[in-house]
């Protein structure tokens, strides 16, 4: 008999956790993991594998968990996924591997993400095995950005034996994993450990180097790099373009989260970076970023946090689990509303005027288009606003790399394997797709590493040509 429901994951009590930054779910015990693993049907055609962007052999690693062979399970996962402890926590499993799970047709799907997290955490406790580094090829590859795309590409290039240098603009590596996603969802020690592993594999990391400013891609080639991977991610937060959006107290989610996560503003004044927290905070948007901002504001002491979203809950792009967590913690939601203007009290934001919306016909994305209802305006008094309506691509690399084709949205044009319009320059992750997911950025990094490897071998044969 198969249990219809997943083994639940124990979590911190919502009342307690809104006062701390510790991780919310505790993770499975070995017994819980084995018990959940027993639910898997071991399907022959395993649709779950196709549902995973990096095609982890899911039935195999679940079978290994069932047999209590956790070491084998983590090895199976790591054949295709370099960052399982991270993906197990932040992957939108419910729309990927678990969405197509056979068991999910009748019952709850297998908790693939939780099992992945379990074995990754198990490995940390019992000793991490580093992937084998290939024989030195003599080729040097530069990787721009240390988000999931850059980290994955760098690791795989090392496996092929290439020398790799990562250039990162900030003082700490990790990209969004470090400055965006909060501690209570992704403990930073996990990200640091992954980066530590990369360094042990011989990847060179240079922080505080802004490619396009400190050094350009053309100069990297002139310095002897044979290929470049651009994983510079999404930057440039979007704003609403409505009156009052530059008032004091209005933050982009990126700024708010960066101050808190990267600069530790929640420890001000012990740490030097300040943050202003309002009593009543409006968060504009409906994605993971909005949920992270809302839950962070609560933890920093806001009395009320209200998420303003212009469609309904069903259309929210955030992961279900995060919406659920946010609600449990007391985040309020106003659906079908859109801000039209911010109110000003001597330079500071004092309210947000909204208009009610209704859903009309579906737009290009297939979601029903929100339409304002004339005359339905109303004001919510707030003293802080966090705008989380998305980011445009990081502008510096495209602006400073002649011949690198971009789309009208500013993303870099690249094929499935990351080849751009410039020979020897590859790209992947959010800089190519626009804001997406950790696992898709990782997948892009992996494919690009393979393409770079092929490119180097085809172009130079087996030994690099000096000065080429």
């Amino acid at each position: 008999m198969i249990r219809p429901t997943q083994v639940p994951m124990r979590e911190q009590d919502p009342k307690a956790r809104v006062h701390n930054f510790e991780e919310v779910p505790f993770g499975y015990t070995p017994e819980e993991a084995v018990s959940e693993a027993e639910r898997c049907l071991q399907c022959k055609r395993a649709p779950c594998i196709q549902g995973c962007p990096v095609n982890i052999n899911i039935p195999k690693f679940i079978r290994e968990i069932r047999e209590g062979n956790f070491r084998a399970a983590i090895r199976t996962i790591k054949e295709t996924n370099n960052l399982p402890a991270i993906c197990g926590r932040v992957c939108p499993q419910e729309t990927q591997c678990q969405a197509v799970c056979t068991l999910g047709k009748k019952y709850e799907p297998v908790a693939i993400g939780r099992l992945e997290r379990f074995v990754a955490d198990w490995e940390y406790e019992h000793g991490v095995e580093l992937p084998e580094v290939g024989k030195p090829t003599g080729f040097r590859v530069a990787v721009v950005g240390s988000g999931p795309a850059g980290l994955t590409c760098a690791a795989d290039l090392r496996r092929f034996g290439h020398a790799v240098t990562i250039f990162e603009a900030l003082h700490e590596p990790g990209g969004v994993l470090m400055y965006g996603i909060p501690e209570f969802r992704l403990p930073k020690k996990i990200v640091r450990a992954e980066i530590e592993n990369l360094l042990r594999m011989g990847v060179e990391l240079r922080c505080n180097v802004v490619v396009g400013r400190t050094v350009t891609i053309d100069e990297l080639f002139a310095q002897g790099y044979h290929a470049v991977f651009v994983g510079s991610g999404a930057g440039l937060p979007k704003f609403l373009g409505i009156p009052g959006e530059n008032l004091i107290g209005i933050y982009s989610a990126n700024e708010f989260l960066t101050r808190v996560n990267l600069m530790r503003a929640y420890l001000f004044p012990e740490y030097d970076t300040p943050i202003k927290i309002g009593k009543v905070v409006a968060v504009v948007g409906g994605g993971n970023v909005a949920m992270d901002a809302a839950r962070t504001a609560l933890r920093l002491g806001a009395e009320r946090v209200v998420v303003l979203y212009r469609r309904t809950e069903a259309e929210m792009p955030a992961r279900r689990e995060e919406i659920h967590h946010a609600k449990e913690e007391g985040v309020e939601f106003e659906f079908l509303v859109n801000p039209v203007r911010f109110l000003d009290s001597s330079g500071r934001v004092s309210g947000v005027e909204c208009i009610r919306m209704e859903l009309g016909d579906p737009d290009e994305s297939g979601r029903r288009r929100p339409i304002p209802i004339p005359g339905s305006n109303f004001v919510i008094p707030v003293d802080m606003v966090i705008v989380a309506i998305g980011n445009d691509p990081h502008p510096l690399v495209p602006r400073t790399t002649p011949g690198l084709a971009t789309t009208k949205h500013g993303t870099v044009v690249a094929d499935e394997d990351g080849r751009t319009s410039r020979e020897g320059v590859f790209a992947g992750g959010d800089i190519v797709t626009g804001a997406a997911t950790v696992i898709s950025a990782m997948g892009a990094g992996k494919r690009a590493a393979r393409a770079i490897h092929q490119y180097l071998l085809t172009k130079y044969g087996h030994a690099p040509v000096q000065g080429a």
Partner: protein
């Protein structure tokens, strides 16, 4: 880790530092800046590249001690110490070309960033008129350097302790009234740049200013440095820091600079108390 090669006190609450940063020195251009973070718990603050030496691999920064971070830099960091992070050069370079006659106005610590711009403009064949000003004589610095890169130099102090008594807009107005000027650069406190802009507008002379907004990353990621320019939100770190002064919403800029007033005061008082405590022991 960036070694401080040299440190010099320029005046009350004013320090000049020569810092090792070969990559930045090799790329620096007038108008650009760096972001520094002193230590693990430090804030990231922007400082303009006041000078650089490719051969020595160093950059020169001038900092006015206004809050916790700049006080710590001025009081605790000496020759031989290291600054944890220095990143740059950031921002777009000044548009250096032949204009004809140009005026370069530096107010207060703004004298430092205006210096390399004046030097480059002179190098491009312009007739460079310099105007520098400060509240009082002790706060003036680099007059010798400015003299070398300007065809003529006007100096003002608010209290008349040196040069002409008054503010920098007075000689600026005088010059605009009597001479044909093609372009003005003005760098200093926001309020000074605002009034320099109003003066330039009276005479319909184009003016470039450098916005000292609050920044975090300096790479176009956070949006904290936004300013309203011609009714649009612009990011000073990637779209600027230089803008056409006539298009800047100055009141908003001034308001945004006061965002963390209370926190900054608290941090500075706490820090100065710690310094006093350490001195007593």
């Amino acid at each position: 880790m960036h070694l401080i090669r040299k440190k010099r006190v320029l005046g009350p609450n004013l320090v000049e530092l020569e810092v090792e940063a070969p990559l930045i020195a090799a790329k620096a251009q007038p108008g650009q800046f760096v972001i520094i973070r002193l230590h693990e718990k430090g804030e990231r603050i922007p400082l303009t590249l006041a000078d650089w030496d490719k051969d020595r691999g160093t950059i020169t920064l001038v900092a006015q001690m206004v809050g916790k971070t700049t006080h710590q830099l001025g009081l605790e960091y000496d020759e031989g110490d290291v600054i944890a992070d220095v990143v740059g050069p950031l921002g777009n370079p000044s548009e250096i070309k032949f204009y004809g006659t140009v005026v370069c106005v530096g107010g207060g610590v703004g004298i430092a960033p205006i210096f390399p711009i004046a030097r480059a403009l002179k190098g491009a064949g312009n007739t460079v008129i310099g105007i520098v000003g400060a509240r009082t004589k002790d706060l003036l610095f680099w007059l010798d350097r400015m003299e070398k890169v300007c065809h003529e130099l006007h100096v003002t102090t608010d209290d008349g302790s040196f040069g002409q008594k008054g503010v920098v807009t007075e000689p600026l107005r005088e010059i605009l009234r009597t001479r044909k000027v093609e372009h003005i650069w003005a760098i200093g406190p926001a309020i000074m740049m605002k009034f320099a802009t109003l003066t330039a507008q009276e005479f319909a002379v184009p003016i470039t200013v450098s916005l000292n907004t609050i920044m975090v990353d300096g790479t176009g990621m956070c949006g904290g440095c936004r300013a309203e320019v011609q009714g649009e939100s612009k990011f000073a770190c990637v779209d600027g820091p230089e803008f056409d002064g006539t298009k800047v919403n100055w009141d908003l800029l001034l308001a945004r600079l006061s965002t963390y007033k209370e926190e900054e005061k608290c941090a500075l008082e706490r820090y100065l108390a710690q310094v006093a405590e350490a001195a007593r022991r």
